[in-house]
């Protein structure tokens, strides 16, 4: 049990302080695009699984250290090929985890955007809050998780709280940075029109910061999921974290792997949803910059 905990916690410690830059879209299609890119990816995947299966078979790796891909597939299938309401399947725990992660994401990123906006607009609020933001940011937030469980209990509250805490910082830093990075000519334009502060925020600063905010959201989504799982490790009735700890308790390593595969797929899916939203909303891309 402690092994799984340490791994996740170590990941969480690595959360960066620096705001992630909006992706540069130029040159995206240069390498590995289209059919040939997909083919390269598939060949790599096949080689990985082949190497894995052969290594397990011929190097005599015990299945409680590294199960074979086939064993993982069986575990995965037994969790997927059941009725959605079955307590043995992945559907109920996954739903529970995603729901809490999503509520935490909404609260955390909403607060991050709000406070980031206030800090970007007011030097006083910036001076007041920035030291705390950095202090909290440098703290490995997963280490606060046991405290959060004491405050919010073993129910959904502690999962939502930790997810919100982890989602908060990338949104705070990125929205602050994005809102401050507006071109001075655009501010001059709004000033020359006697625009109010709120009009300038809504019409110029917020859309200008959108690529930064989406980059923050992209991180926040993954962190919210991470936070929820960590909270579930500490104690929960249901959730993917519980699925992992239960499989671990009976040394069902294939079951742990299968649950990780599900979580990995969720991460990719959520990332894809955020990218899709960004492409729709920030349709002007980098073309708006000089």
């Amino acid at each position: 049990m402690s092994e799984a905990k340490t791994t996740i916690a170590a990941d969480a410690v690595a959360i960066e302080t620096a705001p992630s830059k909006p992706r540069a879209k130029a040159g995206k299609k240069k390498a590995g695009s289209g059919a040939s890119g997909t083919a390269i990816m598939l060949v790599g995947l096949v080689l990985l699984f082949l190497g894995w299966a052969l290594a397990v078979k011929y190097l005599d790796v015990p299945s409680y250290i590294l199960p074979s891909p086939v064993a993982v597939w069986h575990a995965l299938w037994s969790g997927l090929a059941v009725s959605p309401t079955s307590p043995l399947g992945y559907y109920l725990p996954l739903w529970g985890t995603l729901k809490n992660a999503f509520i935490g994401l909404a609260i955390g990123s909403g607060l991050g955007l709000t406070l980031g906006s206030l800090m970007a607009e007011s030097r006083v609020i910036e001076k007041l809050l920035m030291p705390y933001a950095f202090a909290l940011q440098s703290l490995p937030k997963v280490a606060i998780a046991p405290l959060v469980v004491i405050w919010f209990g073993f129910g959904d509250g502690s999962k939502i709280a930790i997810a919100a805490l982890l989602a908060f910082f990338p949104m705070l830093i990125n929205s602050f940075t994005g809102l401050r990075s507006v071109e001075p000519e655009r501010i001059d334009l709004m000033r020359s029109l006697s625009a109010s502060r709120f009009e300038t925020y809504r019409i110029v600063k917020l859309p200008n910061a959108a690529p930064y905010i989406f980059a923050g959201l992209d991180m926040a989504v993954v962190y919210a999921l991470l936070g929820t799982i960590v909270a579930e490790f500490l104690g929960a009735q249901q959730g993917m974290g519980v699925v992992i700890t239960q499989a671990q308790a009976v040394t069902d390593v294939a079951g742990v792997f299968a649950a990780l595969v599900i979580l990995g797929a969720m991460g990719i899916l959520l990332h894809g949803i955020v990218r899709g939203m960004e492409a729709r909303i920030v349709h002007w891309g980098d073309r708006g910059r000089k």
Partner: protein
Amino acid sequence: MAALAQTQTIEPSAGPARDLIRIRNLEKTYSDGSVHALANINLDIKEGEFVCVVGPSGCGKSTLLRILAGLDDYDSGTVTLDGTPITGPSRDVGVVFQAANLLPWLTVRENVALPLRVGGKQKGQAEDIDRLLDVAGLKDFGHRYPYELSGGMQQRAGICRALVRSPRVLLMDEPFGALDALTRERMNLELQRIWQASRKTVMLITHSISEAIFLADRVVVMSARPGRVIRELEVPIPRPRSNDSIISHPSYPALAKEIRGLLNAQGDE
């Protein structure tokens, strides 16, 4: 064009037009005290007049424009618009920025309509956006985004935006500086056409001597920093002017030579 002319704010009365903008003993030093930007500027601009300001880089001509736009303050002197001191941005002043400065997340039409959406519910005339876009040759591009337009079209949209509140004064800060030479000549023709239709009072800043002579009723030459007005030259070439008629006019070579001489004496351009 004819429709635009109806919205002009002055009666086309006979006799000399009165001064709309008056600048007296204007001084400006940037707040850290290191740059003396403008020194004792005196300049009058008549209602309906087209004035071009030329001067070496960094001579404070942009600062002068920003003061008239109400975007920068000044240290001493008086600057009045129709007798009222300029203390901040005004509905009577439209600004055309360098490089169009359109917002990429708004369509061309939304960009042009922006001045009508913001700045409170001040009373004032509003131009018909469709008519403005039509005059600027952008009728079919209203629903496009700025990045789908050429640089020249973007700047025409920028001019439409500056005109949409029907200001009395149009301030233009090197509006065509980022365009290639051919597009620039075409834009000068377009601007002359729009100006003749609307008869706004215009102050345009430029680096180009030929552009200044082509567009201006009067060319104002400024000195290197600290900026002073060193010469004002009337351009006696009749309108409408074309790129050909301008260089073949007998007064063109002397004018261009004089302006170039004044600028060269400043050790720039």
